[in-house]
Symmetry: C2
Subunit: 216 residues, 2 copies
């Protein structure tokens, strides 16, 4: 299975590539192809020192979409619409949104677009045949990158296409000790995306780092 | 410390009274004083069979407020404004809101009032000296009542009055194995209240019961 990461050289994307590439074929996309190649070279070395083979290749964002079966949009919310505007080829692909629309004011605030969530905005922008799911919203970049730590977290997955959602949940469940939970239709993504600013507030006000969640 | 539970004969309130009354003086309020008395009589017997002494007394909602240092508003959101309308005496008291404004449609939906959250609505309605915190939002009624089970959950606590928030966190941490987390100012309560419909969706779509959360 080929997973393309749009924004794969960003904080989240880079960590996801490290965790995913020993399991899946990962294509890291970036606005800057040189940066994507450098990130992948470094990633391959990092994994090699841990005795892990991987499949990791750096290309442009568009090439990552074209080559992939499943596309992860690892883009900060503020760049989301602009980035999608310059890309195409999402027809019939599974598209995963880990995007959280939020701002840091006095505290972290959930600031959804008028569609209600980033995932619903993506649904409006992309062609109707794109199979959009939200997932991985609450996993911190530092945790993706901390390869010596297991990811002992729950991952709510939302989507209107049941087949796509099952496939995404299968991917989640193969990564470290993540456990996927079906959170319902894509409309529920607003509640999932609101979790991340809450976790950032919990981290801040309790002086702990990189807080995640488990359902139990 | 005297804790008054407004709506103490409802699903959540009854369970809270059972968990709190072996530790604190609990005054159960209800629109129907006879019902409050009956609930307390049953609660005392239930706890007695478990060898637990308790302090539990059934009165009217107004008497519960008047007698308490800390008031818990264990009221469904749809009855919140109407119930508060007929009550007074909240001045200078700590008021805890476990209220979640939500509706069951195709799935569970977070439907906040125009203030942004139930806790912020309570703040608008009550006198300015009331020290409002949100807490206990995500603990299911069944779990409150399941006295043979430990409550192994995290409890985010929001509030603008730091002293009140610390006091509420201290109460949380004395109940079973609940762990309080400072979630920041009362404005963060919108993100906390949105968690409960998310958890109900998780429960529904994964066919599990009474899902709670742990931060980690």
């Amino acid at each position: 299975m080929k997973i393309g990461i749009v924004g794969g050289t960003g904080d989240i994307g880079e960590g996801m590539a490290l965790r995913l590439s020993p399991i899946f074929d990962v294509i890291v996309g970036s606005r800057d192809t040189d940066k994507a190649e450098a990130t992948c070279k470094l990633g391959i070395e990092t994994l090699k020192t841990r005795g892990k083979a991987c499949s990791l290749k750096g290309v442009s964002n568009q090439e990552a979409i074209d080559a992939a079966d499943i596309v992860v949009l690892a883009i900060p919310f503020k760049h989301l619409a602009g980035t999608l505007d310059g890309l195409h080829g999402f027809e019939d692909k599974i598209v995963i949104s880990p995007v959280n629309p939020m701002e840091k004011r006095d505290h972290f605030v959930f600031v959804p677009p008028q569609e209600g969530s980033a995932a619903l905005m993506i649904k409006r922008i992309l062609p109707p045949s794109a199979r959009i799911c939200s997932a991985f919203n609450t996993i911190a970049a530092n945790k993706w990158k901390a390869l010596d730590e297991e990811l002992l977290y729950s991952v709510p997955v939302c989507g209107d296409d049941d087949g796509a959602k099952q496939e995404v949940m299968g991917i989640v469940n193969r990564i470290s000790r993540l456990q996927a939970f079906d959170a319902g239709p894509l409309a529920v993504s607003s509640m999932v995306e609101a979790l991340t600013p809450l976790l950032l507030n919990i981290a801040r006000y309790n002086k702990i780092r990189d807080v995640g969640i488990q359902f139990r």
